[in-house]
């Protein structure tokens, strides 16, 4: 899982153009949105697109989105679980 989290950090930096952010600046367990990173609802949707495109996992409504984007660890776990479910 830690390896996947590291991969997601790189994807987040690339997708959102966070040129002045290093992977270690992204909190794993803390709040992802509304943190010092300055991410907002449009960034969430941009990540939703990336996650569907790169991992085939859809996050289509707000209620699910709020839980999934609570932290990077929650996001990684959600993608991982749904990706596996799909593979089965």
């Amino acid at each position: 899982m830690e390896g996947f989290i590291a991969e997601l950090k790189d994807k987040i930096i690339e997708t959102l153009g966070l040129t002045d952010v290093r992977p270690e600046d992204i909190p794993v367990d803390g709040q992802l949105i509304g943190s010092e990173l300055g991410l907002d609802s449009i960034d969430v949707l941009e990540l939703v697109m990336m996650i569907e495109k790169d991992y085939g996992v859809k996050i289509e409504n707000r209620e699910v989105g709020v839980k999934v984007f609570a932290s990077l660890r929650a996001l990684a776990a959600y993608i991982d679980a749904n990706r596996r479910e799909k593979d089965r």
């Binding site: 966070l18 040129t19 002045d20 907002d40 609802s41 449009i42």
Partner: protein
């Protein structure tokens, strides 16, 4: 002279409810949704979402669908009147996009295929068809465009710039908006249910509506309603989401009522923006509750028509005028169980009852809010006395050119050297952290840098209230990137960020966020005269005593899209001014004098010379003319200039500004900045005086824009 009023003396409308006022009226009375699954183009990867689609749009001269829809509405207005419009104002966001996106996908690269791409091309085409030779303005403030168009039309009448104005909005369904709103998760798969407990978003739709506004002291025969007032504001909060507390929306509603000389208690009905998105409806409900302790009946018609984007404000103005004329409040179609969290109960069913006054709201991306007050004729406050266009004193200037910012540009200019090219934005110093501007691509970044620099240049510092921005082509990088990702993925993926950034008003509304500019935020578009249009619009709406405003013209040169849209472009950049609408300050004054559509013709020259006070006054006031002759119609512009010289016998230097600014649609904004700096110095660069005396002799500079439009701006010496 008594105050002049603006009466609605004709309407035309087309939407998913059909073509014409009677079809619309029937649909309003029945109150059943006209939303149907998308059929206009195949939806690639999901079941087609409900949309408001117009059936049987006729082919009109091979034009894009937006133009055809606009014509369907305009011809209804024309069929019912003997009046000829002397001005035209259109709100639109898509312009030629329905055609452009197909052409780009097919790899078409010939510029002639894109000649109706520009958002401003709809109004220009209509004006040609109607032989309109007055002000022709296109406002593109996303979903408030149609309402903003009526605001501008009202000010044209109040300023005596027009007597009969055709004003409205038009937008067509296209993949850009369909997939864009989908990517933002703002679409309700069940169809829009405004104010409903279970609402999940809007339904994208298309349509067009126009009103014929007539200036008169008392109602002309057949007047349906009066446009008594209009107001606008900017949230300066977020590029897409509304300010949650609704204070931006509230400011627009209050401004509209104050403009009409009315109180909230006098309202009989509020036509809500009511898109059906959870955030919009909540913020709007808060705003309405803050405006009226005991709100009048309210409803949204977007569950019926869908959200027709730039057309919606005009469609709802027609619905409101009908409601006043025929005594009817539309039901809030689509809402079954009102959301108690809103604290605002909509009228679920339509009802016949007298309606004397309506407030109609429209709010768009970038927090661009606008509201109208329509009343039964003569039921609002006293009419205002006519007033002239505002006269601006220049507080600060800024530009970006191939040479860089203002200082570097001036260094080359004083040496008489050209500075055409693309400014290197990365080299421009700014105190804003990179993370905060990471989402701003080229045009938005240029506009922000220009806005900050113009504010910085003011002595003493002054904060802008409003921002008026002119752009011919909008944010090309975002438009390109959005469509590329869409096509490359077989229409499966897009970028929500690029969609939000692609709207024409994105740059000005982003700048408003950084500058906390909560006044009017108006983006207009009209080819090579977009900056002149922005300054003219600012002159129409601002009054002495209003806070300073930024007026900006800028354009980006894009490797793929610019050769298609504006093949002559060789440069990009822009210019910006911080202006005080009081005029008469210590700096030079910038005065919009004339703005008229006159493609390739010189018959508008006498009116221009008259606006400037005649040949003798021109010679007395101006030590030089700076003329912009866009490559798109250079021969037409040269013929116009020749007639100007002949009829005025102007003998001081005439400077062809594009020779040093380079060729691009924002060049006139740069030329205006240089004209101001030249008047400050009191002399032209000797190399530009053509062997004549470069000194201005205490006089100002006349900025002429020729070609498709004939425009004049005075830069007067202090």
């Amino acid at each position: 002279m008594n105050g002049v009023r603006a009466f609605v003396c004709g309407t035309g409308i087309v939407s998913a409810a059909g073509e014409g006022v009677e079809a619309t009226w029937g649909a309003l009375r029945r109150g059943t949704s006209r939303l149907t699954p998308l059929a206009l183009f195949p939806a690639a990867h999901t079941p087609p979402l409900p949309v408001g689609e117009v059936r049987d749009v006729p082919e009109v001269d091979g034009l894009p669908r937006t133009h055809a829809l606009a014509w369907m509405a305009v011809r209804q207005v024309l069929a019912a009147t003997t009046l000829t419009p002397d001005a035209l104002v259109l709100g639109s966001t898509t312009g030629g996009m329905p055609t452009t996106e197909r052409l780009l996908e097919a790899g078409e690269r010939r510029p002639e295929a894109y000649r109706h791409h520009a958002v401003g091309s709809v109004a220009a085409w209509l004006a040609r068809r109607l032989s309109c030779r007055g002000p022709v303005i296109t406002v593109s403030t996303a979903c408030s465009s149609g309402t903003a168009a009526l605001k501008i039309a009202l000010e044209l009448i109040r300023c005596g710039q027009a007597r009969v104005v055709l004003a409205g909005g038009a937008d067509a369904l296209c993949r850009m908006t369909y997939y864009g709103f989908h990517a933002l998760q703002l679409i309700d798969p069940a169809g829009a249910r405004p104010l409903d407990r279970d609402r999940r978003g809007l339904s994208v739709a298309e349509g067009a509506a126009f009103v014929l506004l007539v200036a008169a002291e008392s109602p002309p025969v057949g007047a349906l309603a009066e446009l008594a007032g209009a107001g606008w504001s900017c949230d300066a909060y977020h590029p897409a989401a509304p300010r949650p507390d609704g204070t931006g929306a509230l400011a627009a509603m209050r401004a509209a009522l104050a403009d009409a000389g009315m109180t909230p208690a006098a309202l009989d009905y509020i036509n809500l923006h009511g898109t059906g998105t959870p955030d919009n409806d909540l913020a709007e409900a808060r705003a309405v509750r803050a405006l009226c302790g005991d709100p009048p009946p309210v409803s949204s018609v977007k569950g019926l028509f869908g959200h027709t984007l730039g057309a919606s404000g005009a469609i709802e103005a027609v619905v409101s005028a009908l409601g006043i004329h025929r005594g009817f409040i539309p039901g809030n179609c689509g809402c079954r169980i009102p959301d108690t969290a809103l604290g605002l109960l909509p009228e679920l069913a339509g009802q016949s009852r007298p309606v004397r006054s309506v407030l109609s709201n429209s709010f768009g991306f970038g927090g661009n809010n606008a509201s109208l007050v329509l009343t039964a004729p003569l039921s609002a406050g006293p009419a205002r006395p006519p007033r002239p266009l505002a006269r601006f004193s220049v507080l600060g200037t800024a530009c970006l050119t191939g040479a860089g910012p203002l200082e570097e540009t001036l260094a080359r200019y004083w040496r008489g050297e050209p500075f055409s090219g693309r400014p290197d934005l990365a080299a421009v110093r700014t105190e804003i952290p990179a993370g905060q501007i990471r989402r701003l691509k080229r045009l938005s970044r240029m506009v922000l840098l220009l806005a900050l620099a113009a504010r910085q240049a003011a002595r003493p510092p002054a904060a802008p209230g409003g921002i008026f921005f002119g752009t011919a082509w909008g944010s090309l990088t975002e438009t390109h990137d959005f469509l590329k990702k869409l096509f490359d993925s077989g229409e499966r993926f897009t970028s929500p960020t690029d969609f939000v950034g692609s709207v024409h008003n994105a740059p000005a509304s982003q700048a408003a966020i950084f500058l906390e500019a909560t006044g009017a935020n108006v983006t207009v578009s009209g080819g090579d005269h977009s900056f002149e249009q922005a300054l003219y619009t600012a002159g129409l709406v601002l009054r002495a005593g209003d806070p300073p405003a930024l007026v900006i013209g800028a354009e980006e040169d894009h490797d793929v899209l610019s050769p298609c849209f504006d093949a002559a472009a060789t440069a990009d950049g822009g210019g910006a001014f911080l202006l005080d609408p009081r005029g008469g300050g210590t700096g030079p004054d910038l005065v919009p004098v004339h703005f008229a559509f006159n493609p390739g013709g010189d018959d508008g020259l006498p009116a221009l010379i008259e606006s400037l006070g005649g040949a003798a006054r021109i010679a007395e006031r101006f030590g030089a003319v700076f003329v912009g002759l866009p490559a798109g119609d250079r021969s037409g512009g040269e013929a116009q200039l020749e007639r100007f010289r002949r009829e005025t016998a102007f003998s001081s230097p005439v400077v062809d500004t594009r020779r040093f600014t380079g060729e691009f649609a924002g060049a006139s904004a740069v030329a205006a900045v240089l004209a101001v700096e030249t008047v400050r110095r009191g002399a032209l660069p000797p190399a530009l005086a053509g062997g004549e005396d470069p000194r201005l002799g205490g006089r100002g500079i006349l900025l002429l824009g020729l070609g498709e439009f004939i425009t004049a701006i005075e830069v007067s010496a202090p």
